[in-house]
Symmetry: C3
Subunit: 136 residues, 3 copies
Amino acid sequence: MQMFRQMVDVHTSKRLEMVDITRLVEEAVESSNLKEGLVNIYSRHSTSAVVINENESGLKEDFLVALDKLVPTGAGYLHDRIDHNADSHIRGFLVGGSQTVPFQEGRLMLGTWQSIFFVELDGPRHRTLTVTVTGQ
Amino acid sequence: MQMFRQMVDVHTSKRLEMVDITRLVEEAVESSNLKEGLVNIYSRHSTSAVVINENESGLKEDFLVALDKLVPTGAGYLHDRIDHNADSHIRGFLVGGSQTVPFQEGRLMLGTWQSIFFVELDGPRHRTLTVTVTGQ
Amino acid sequence: MQMFRQMVDVHTSKRLEMVDITRLVEEAVESSNLKEGLVNIYSRHSTSAVVINENESGLKEDFLVALDKLVPTGAGYLHDRIDHNADSHIRGFLVGGSQTVPFQEGRLMLGTWQSIFFVELDGPRHRTLTVTVTGQ
């Protein structure tokens, strides 16, 4: 088994945003020249998440609305006294900031209705993902 | 380090269901002939999850009821105009569709009160999991 | 690629507690003598979680309060008839019990505002984490 690493930049334009990064992850797997293995996508940011789900415009909005209902903005959080983004941190804490995806013949083994998303929870910002490809 | 991959089929019988897949994952590790490493269990489906917790019948019901309260069915989701399962997607988005588990001497290093579950969120369906074993 | 494994003990002192384990994970990476790879932190316990976020005292309290609101204690759970900790299990189920973190030049590639936490959800207890370092 071998390892290959690539940093991937994502620029977001809203406070809450679902950015489809499937193609960026595929490119990292292609650059590795590895054929079969696992790719780990890791966000270096505490106010973001990485998820896998269907890329349908209504559903992307539904996810963000659901997070807003589960963790309301400005609900008396202690962290808001220091930095007004406790909601962003708590949402990131719940959803999680990395994913590991299998690949075969140099292609991601996603299901038909699966895309990989970077979830911006405190944008707009410039973000960096660490993509690590391991395999043979 | 070496790598071994096996596809695992799971057939569910209800809309919401917790299926214990510990034995199926153990069999994949045994088939790999690897003694020490990590096994990744990945669901190719956006309306499902993979979790690790205690296999107690009341608790399995509690998990599904908790998800239903956190993300109610039919709560005005945009995705329900296209396909009537936005709740299933949002629940999958929150819980997550893969797990990575250590193994040693060819056996899963689960705790005493841990089993691996496939969580069906939009069944009944035929599902496929990608199980990737890496180690030595 | 090579693999190295270390068990890490964590002793908690409250029912709900966020314990910063970043230094313990760094020490496992240093002990491995591997320079570049991924480290997996896995909790063998169903009433705990492992997360990555900012180590700010107010925010740590905010996380625990948010979990308590999302999954209230003693809300008629079936599992409470057997063992009075259904809330702990359901919170662990939602947040998840492992993380995978990249490292380079023998150091964790965490972001500026990221620490690794063991989240105690049913303490005080003695807990064990399985830390698996893979890389080159």
